[in-house]
């Protein structure tokens, strides 16, 4: 038996430390014992075999074939010895890769002697282990003759050895696998053996962990790693430790500097050595500490509870209680100690609280308490003698004890009353809410995401047009109510809730059973349960159909408004007109785009505050603008006004401003809406126009003045000249009358010339007077029949017409607007002229015709008279212009001048067409009269 096995088996006796290790050691020991027993058996078998000739003798020839076998071959090999003769040794040897067998075969082939070689042979009973020894035989010449040897069947022995070796291997493996250190020292305290785990326990002295090291040397090297110092007295500590070591009965706990804990157990072996087991108990220690801390925390927790805590053991005796317990049960404070039975506690307390109670009553109360205690649960609230209300909760513990916690519920009781009152309020509130929901068309809903249960408020049913007596629709049923186009959107919101995510408020359509579409607004949130899982989706539905329609209408209006604003903006730009709005309180103003353009400022940078605006106003016009501001402050709406601005580029523009101010009830201005128009060009044009019209007016005045002066002159001349002329003419005539026959011929002729000159001058003056009076006599122009005018003129000319035999043709004549007297004069002059300037020997033929020319009548007086040379056509209208000898055609030459003046006074035109020697056409126009709204024709 190997020495190590024996040592371990001895050590096994003395190891009694770690249970695990001990068990393993025991197993190993048992195994070894069995092996020993079998070994003994094998020795017995060997002895028996020897005795029963289980060994045999053999011989072979030079070819290594068996020639002779002596012994119980058949018994061993299961085949008769005769059948073996002639067979080769090699043939018998078990063909395996075993190097031992190869060596053996090489040996016999080399004809060398061998001893106690164990080989396996293939026998009829299977593989057998054979131990054989052989000696080669040579003849005298040294020629190999064969072998002679002895062999024995050692199969049983080999099997035993193999099993023991296997057991040892397993044992060693087991020792190696344990985390504990195993160290065996001999009686001289030298290391015999230690497993590899030992190195972890002697980190600083692992080089000494070899057989033969003295334990004391190892200890000296290793001691530094202990936490508890060896102190100054190292030697005595070593001595003490060695003494403990040798006692073979130590159980030590060591703390190392790296924070680890080790338990050391040492036992004496039967052989006087020491086996030491070291176990790392750091984890254990840690758990121990944690346990202690937990215990302490629990105790603290129990103490800090505002409740009474009493733990009874399975025998109903107090095990632990906190200090609060005394406050709940002051009358039995001295009994609140470990060991007091609940029954005694209860009885004593009842008795003390009810001094007059009968024993029977006390007993009933105690039994009642015990029944409660033995069926732990929630004990009904009860009132303490000091009036406080308490409530007890009792629970059975795992080890059959009972925990009894009693809390002060006085406040809770009060709250309960308050809650009752509140719940009444709440109930009313809910009624109000339902009412409010109905009024606001808001319904509320709740869906349990875990059970799928849905709850709807009354209003929900109304919104969705559902029967309130039926269950609300579940998730998928609800989706069918949603308008197909909005379904995906709504489902997304549902899915968000189901994942515990918030979802945005949603606007969606629903389709009622009757096909009506309604708009709904929905706000939802999700409630998580205690585990953080989505629990409930709660939300509100609001019927916003009306709101939505209103919004749509509003949007349409807004669009329209926006377009209008665009048009307005465009129109303003075209009209060079801007508009603005100013909040007079905050001085915040909005300008239209055109306003910015008019003021020549950039909308992006210019802020239209009053201050900035005033910077643009021409300095001379500040007063105008500020006066308006003053008027507004006094509650007046300012009149339109104008001012100038200086644009940032330096140009000066004229601005026309109109604004309206809105005042509040106190006359305080609120805001101002106004327009600005760039009237620079307009004003410039107006100025130019005004200048021109003033010029024209001045000229007109001048003209009128000169006309008036001229007329005045003509009148004065004709009137005042008449007086002296009358004297001249009168006295010349008087001379002629008185002295005609008393003077000589020359004197008479002279007097004739004087009288003639005076008379002509009188006619000229009279004509001039008549001319100057045109336009001053005869009243205002009125509609009149031109035919009557012609008739009157012809009456006045009756004498001349008769005398000349003139033929006057008058066509259909219209009504014109004119002054009858003047027009009569006109026609008299024209027709008279036609008669006067007739050709000799030609009967005058005169026609008067009319034709329409727009708003005027074109009247022609045509004759067959002498006509007028073209160069004189204009001159004939000049005053006192005569084309002919006075003797032939008498007259002053005023006739056509008066005619022209009359026509011009009537706003018409007069001109002559004439062919000398053939006749003349006098053309003139007069305004047509309008009768009954229609021009006469």
């Amino acid at each position: 038996m190997p020495a190590a096995q024996k040592q371990i088996s001895r050590a096994d006796d003395s190891v009694a430390g770690s249970n695990d290790l001990a068990a393993r050691l025991a197993t190993a020991e048992a195994c070894i014992a069995a092996t020993e027993a079998r070994l003994a058996d094998a020795e017995e078998v060997l002895r028996d075999a020897l005795q029963s000739s289980l060994s045999w003798l053999w011989e072979s020839n030079e070819h290594l074939c068996f020639t002779r076998l002596v012994g119980p071959v058949e018994q061993i090999l299961g085949m008769p010895a005769e059948s073996v003769i002639g067979k080769s040794i090699e043939e018998f040897t078990h063909a395996s890769g075993d190097p031992q067998i190869q060596t053996f075969l090489a040996t016999i082939r080399a004809h060398k002697p061998y001893r106690d070689v164990i080989t396996s042979i293939t026998a009829r009973k299977g593989v057998r282990w054979v131990k054989s020894s052989g000696k080669p035989l040579f003849d005298a010449e040294g020629k190999f003759l064969g072998y002679r040897g002895i062999a024995s069947d050692v199969t049983a022995q080999i099997d035993t050895e193999r099993r023991a070796a296997e057991a040892h291997r397993r044992f060693m493996e087991a020792i190696e696998t344990v985390p504990a250190s195993l160290m065996l020292c001999d009686r001289d305290d030298r290391i015999v053996f230690c497993n590899s785990a030992t190195q972890r326990y002697f980190p600083t002295a692992s080089h000494l962990l070899v057989p033969g090291t003295k334990y004391e040397d190892l200890l000296r090297e290793h001691a530094a790693t202990y936490v508890e110092g060896t102190g100054d007295n190292f030697e005595s500590w070593i001595a003490e430790r060695m003494k403990t070591h040798r006692s073979g009965n130590s159980n030590l706990i060591r703390t190392y500097k790296d924070g680890r804990w080790t338990q050391i157990i040492e036992r004496r072996t039967s052989e006087g050595g020491i086996i030491g087991v070291r176990i790392d108990i750091t984890e254990l220690k840690k758990h121990e500490k944690e346990h202690e801390a937990a215990q302490a925390r629990l105790k603290d927790a129990i103490e800090t509870m505002p409740a009474s805590f009493i733990l009874y053991d399975h025998e109903e005796k107090i095990l632990i209680r906190n200090n609060q317990a005394e406050k709940f049960f002051p009358e039995v404070a001295e009994l609140l100690v470990p060991g007091t039975k609940i029954e005694d506690l209860s009885r004593t307390r009842y008795r003390r609280l009810h001094p007059h109670a009968s024993e029977a009553e006390i007993e009933r109360a105690v039994q009642k308490r015990l029944r409660q205690f033995r069926n732990p649960g929630v004990v009904p609230p009860d009132q303490l003698p000091d009036g406080r209300w308490t409530q007890a909760i009792e629970r059975r513990t795992a080890d059959g004890g009972t925990v009894c916690v009693r809390i002060d519920i006085t406040e809770l009781k009060q709250r309960e009353h308050e809650l009752e009152a509140m719940s009444e309020t709440l109930r009313k509130s809910q009624e109000h809410l339902a009412q409010a929901q109905h009024t606001s068309s808001t319904g509320s809903m709740e869906r349990n995401l875990q059970t799928g249960e849905v709850r709807w408020s009354e209003e929900c049913y109304r919104i969705f047009g559902r029967d309130p007596n039926q269950a609300p629709p579940n998730r998928d049923e609800f989706l069918l109510l949603v308008h197909p186009e909005d379904r995906a959107k709504y489902e997304a919101s549902m899915v968000a809730s189901e994942r515990g995510l918030p979802s945005e408020p949603l606007k969606f359509r629903i389709v009622l059973d009757d096909g009506a579409v309604r708009w709904c607004h929905c706000e939802t949130s999700v409630v998580l349960d205690a585990d953080g899982k989505p629990w409930k989706r709660i939300g509100t539905y609001r019927d916003i159909t009306i709101e939505h329609e209103a919004q749509e209408a509003l949007r349409a209006m807004t669009d329209k408004l926006r377009r209008s604003q665009e048009y307005l903006s465009q129109a303003q730009r075209l009209a060079r007109m801007g508009s603005d709005f100013r909040d007079l309180h905050s001085d915040v103003a909005e300008w239209s785009d055109a306003s910015y353009e008019i003021f020549g400022v950039d909308k992006a940078t210019f802020v239209p505050t009053t201050e900035n605006f005033l910077k643009l106003v021409h300095p001379e016009d500040h007063a105008v603008v500020l006066r308006t501001r003053g008027e507004i402050a006094q509650g007046k709406n300012p009149e339109p006004f104008e001012y100038r601005i200086t644009r940032p580029d330096g140009t000066i523009r004229n601005i026309a401003r109109e604004c309206a101010v809105e005042f509040d009830d106190n006359g305080k201005p609120l805001y101002m809406i106004g327009t600005v128009r760039d009237v620079t060009e307009k004003r410039a044009q107006e100025r130019e126009l005004r200048r021109k019209s003033q010029e024209i007016e001045e000229r007109n005045e001048e003209l009128q003045r000169s006309n008036a002066e001229l007329e005045q002159f003509a009148y004065v001349a004709s009137h005042d000249l008449q007086e002296p002329l009358r004297m001249v003419a009168s006295y010349c005539q008087l001379l002629q009358r008185r002295y005609k026959d008393k003077l000589d011929t020359d004197a008479n002729e002279f007097i004739d010339f004087a009288v003639e000159g005076a008379s002509r001058m009188q006619r000229l003056i009279n004509d001039l007077l008549a001319y100057s009076r045109v336009g001053r006599k005869g009243g205002d122009p009125v509609p009149l029949a031109f035919g009557e005018v012609v008739k009157a003129a012809l009456d006045n000319l009756k004498g001349a017409i008769t005398e000349s035999g003139a033929k006057v043709t008058v066509g259909t004549l219209p009504s014109v607007v004119g002054v009858r007297m003047q027009l009569t004069q006109l026609m008299q002059n024209l027709i008279g002229n036609a008669i006067k300037f007739r050709r000799d020997g030609v009967t005058p033929a005169i026609s008067v015709t009319a034709s329409r020319d727009g708003a005027m009548w074109h009247i022609v007086v045509e004759d067959n008279g002498v006509g007028i040379e073209p160069q004189y056509l204009e001159r004939v209208f000049l005053i006192f212009q005569r084309l002919h000898e006075r003797n032939k055609y008498p007259g002053t030459g005023i006739g056509l001048a008066i005619a022209k003046k009359v026509i011009e006074y009537h706003g018409g035109r007069i001109w002559i067409e004439s062919k000398p020697g053939q006749g003349s056409r006098f053309n003139f126009t007069l305004p047509a009269a309008i009768q009954n709204g229609v021009s006469n024709a």
């Binding site: 008449q722 009358r726 003419a729 009168s730 005539q733 008087l734």
Partner: protein, 153 residues
């Protein structure tokens, strides 16, 4: 022509600033058939002094007819006419307005002031003489005038 009238010369007051016209009137009356005494004054102030026999005119006769020009220096014919017609002694004397004015205004105004007739002086001598003779014949022969003899007596 009545004998009684012809036996007494008729007294005529001519109020005329234009000596030419005055002479023409005088000449025209001289060619007439009725005996008359023509008294000539040249302005309105003198005319009224004559009528009221004031100053140098204290012994002036009361005229049977007044020939009155309108445009006179100092006091014009219209004022003279107005004062005469307000004077109870003078208002019965016929007044013939003899003027060069053809103005409508003057004509109307004169009649309003109770002129007995209004005559525009004609331009020609022949017409002037004819008119003066017409005045003479109408006012001094045809018309019966109030008796002025109390002054003469």
């Amino acid at each position: 022509m009545p004998e009684t009238l012809s036996s007494h010369p008729i007294e005529i007051l001519l109020v005329e600033d234009n000596l030419g016209d005055a002479r023409l009137t005088q000449e025209a009356l001289r060619e007439g058939k009725i005996r008359n005494n023509l008294h000539h004054v040249r302005d309105g102030v003198e005319a009224l002094a004559f009528l009221r026999r004031e100053g140098e005119y204290a012994k002036a006769p009361t005229p049977d007819l007044v020939l009155l020009d309108l445009n006179l220096p100092r006091k014009d014919g219209r004022e003279v006419l107005a004062e005469m017609k307000q004077d109870a002694h003078l208002r019965t004397i016929p007044v013939v307005v003899l003027t060069t004015s053809e103005a409508e205004n003057d004509i109307v105004r004169s009649y309003e002031l109770h002129a007995n007739c209004y005559i525009t002086k004609p331009v020609g001598l022949e017409q002037f003489i004819a008119i003066v003779r017409e005045i003479e014949s109408f006012w001094l022969a045809v018309v019966t005038l109030p008796n002025r003899n109390e002054h003469a007596a």
